[in-house]
Symmetry: C2
Subunit: 433 residues, 2 copies
Amino acid sequence: MNAPNETHAPDLRAWIDSANAPDTDFPVQNLPFGVFRRPGDRARIGVAIGDQILDVAVARGARMLEGSGAEACEAETLNGLMALGPEAWTELRAQMSALLREDGGGRSAAVVREGDLLVAQRDVELLLPARVGDYTDFYASLDHATHVGSMFRPDNPLLPNYKWIPIGYHGRASSVVVSGTPVRRPSGQRKPPEAEAPVFGPSRMLDYELEVGAWIGAGNALGETIPVADADRHIFGLSLLNDWSARDVQAWEYQPLGPFLGKSFATTVSPWIVTWEALAPFLVEVPARAPGDPAPLPYLDAGSTARHAVALTLDVWLQSAAMRSRGLAPLHVSRGSLAGMYWTFPQMVAHHASNGCNLRPGDLLGSGTVSGPEPEARGCLLERTWRGRDLLALPGGEQRAFLEDGDEVTLTGRCAREGYRAIGFGGCGGRVG
Amino acid sequence: MNAPNETHAPDLRAWIDSANAPDTDFPVQNLPFGVFRRPGDRARIGVAIGDQILDVAVARGARMLEGSGAEACEAETLNGLMALGPEAWTELRAQMSALLREDGGGRSAAVVREGDLLVAQRDVELLLPARVGDYTDFYASLDHATHVGSMFRPDNPLLPNYKWIPIGYHGRASSVVVSGTPVRRPSGQRKPPEAEAPVFGPSRMLDYELEVGAWIGAGNALGETIPVADADRHIFGLSLLNDWSARDVQAWEYQPLGPFLGKSFATTVSPWIVTWEALAPFLVEVPARAPGDPAPLPYLDAGSTARHAVALTLDVWLQSAAMRSRGLAPLHVSRGSLAGMYWTFPQMVAHHASNGCNLRPGDLLGSGTVSGPEPEARGCLLERTWRGRDLLALPGGEQRAFLEDGDEVTLTGRCAREGYRAIGFGGCGGRVG
């Protein structure tokens, strides 16, 4: 599956002008799914196209779309569509592509519908696209694990299991929120090294983490596993994900059972899910492991030719309250690439199910912080400022070790490749306060 | 709330004979909630009474029960009833108590209903009582933490945060199953200390953990907290819980982010939720902390007179396939008490929400393994056999370090106190294989 096909052809243009702009994240080659609500209306499933949203149920009602995938889009979340599996997704994508292409018949039909087929993104509220049954967060960047490990455990930065196991932990599903939701600074216990006893109060080391989230499509029954070669067929698509972290709370609480309240106050995802199929042109082979690194165990080894890595470039932007009030644009803080991760999403899926744990449609798997070796590629302030040692200079003269109230963090992501139309993820933002 | 009231009076008798047997877990003073299904029927909410189940929706249809609590019992899970909060639960309990008491009018009304008001427990399937939004597992027994810590970290058994923080971690919600569900032995990576590299295969150190689960009733909004003095009002009730654990998988994977696949293959809960209100006679003050231990921080301190500990005696039973085939009764493996835990459920609730993390109706909080200092009070085989050093002798001549295929583990629990009718939890069982 997932070789590029006609829906990815670079010369396709939509009959919606904004979808043909060179810098749009949502050309007709993308077609990401989300859930939106018009004022006073119910939640509805939509597909982003330029600066508009295609209302899928309206298109189906007008007999422009048919089949089980379109039917599942009558719901208020994507879980039903996710459960159907890749054949249904492909069938629906092909129909939507034909409907929205300049050479298709959609435009004239849309006129007949008097405009309710499309709605401007700025006129609606975007909602969490699926009910998250379980949220799991991985730790798949070797650079991130090494950087953070060297701060928390200087004598032992990278633990012996790292290159064998896609390390992950269960996260909190209830506090997964959609982009734009305000993030309240959490209180918690923290214990500075020199203090006798911990104190309870607002976190002083609030951080973001640049991540990508994979949404599970069809799941597996309890007790069954998912072979790694088949694991990409269980991934519906990807969103951007900000794993907000209170570093002081995390440092004091995390042993021996892992992160808990230092993470569970909020996790922000972008509203649009870029499907695994839309990513086909940007799926690449996994980089060879460094000399001396162990080969993946067979249950994690999809072979060297499996195109399971994603050539997705990710950026972090930060704007303080003072910058906003002075009209200063957000600062570009870092840039990373998902393609350089040590573990792929299909490996994470196969590992997750390797003990018979059942994954369900709408489950969310975080990649872990996407970091590279260079300072400009470090995906959280903990790494970017090296725990506050190298303060970040903001336009206007402010400095940051960690996030202050009023700070707004926005993640963006884009896939580009010679010979293909670039696609993007839209923004994943949240303001502290 | 939750002082004993008329529904707890020890002289109350039900008009269902089996509820008056001295050894029943389900006298009219208990009235635990569950979800059951008659063959071919939908899931329905019921209340255990002796060896029978009261079909709550049928009772409501016959105008024997009224109000928002009874209305919420028209559903197929308890989440709706849980969301209503303690006043609605109390109102419903009082009506059910009156309906089922020997001196009430329920018996004659039941005759009119031709028996569909009650169904024998043996004639139905018992289901998971609620949709578990998130499952969190704590670590509230000081003895368990000390025992396990001394095996995994001999130089550092009890970490410095333990007496300050109710340590917990996010568990896996999808694999929470009801008593009776078979438990498949998980495969996973394990690395014996002497081995060069890990191997992948079936766990050789499969274990149970004797725990109690608290079901959240009304939740809190994201960003809001729950004061510890108010936290018991957010607890709908308790079930028994077996946190199945693959010790070899856990030992290799758990650093630095905590337990993951060593736990997520299955967690078994008992089908009946004994309400916090039914437990009122058995709620006791928290034992004083040992000299030298820190006082709880204010956000965890409900005062020395808060009756937040539960005098619940817990037992573990083990029966192998060979024992079953030879007609040998299950072996009593250990006995523990929930009253001796270092942290109470209200403290766990307050801590969980202290960073603004939203709890939702139906969320499940595990206590952590309930262990005491004596060998006979250790609530898992890891402790009971001290990692296999002291083999457990089974009737018939077998020995156990960890669980073998065919082994069936059953947890039971009972509250008894002079001057009150004893109540129990029913069994929480699962067979490996």
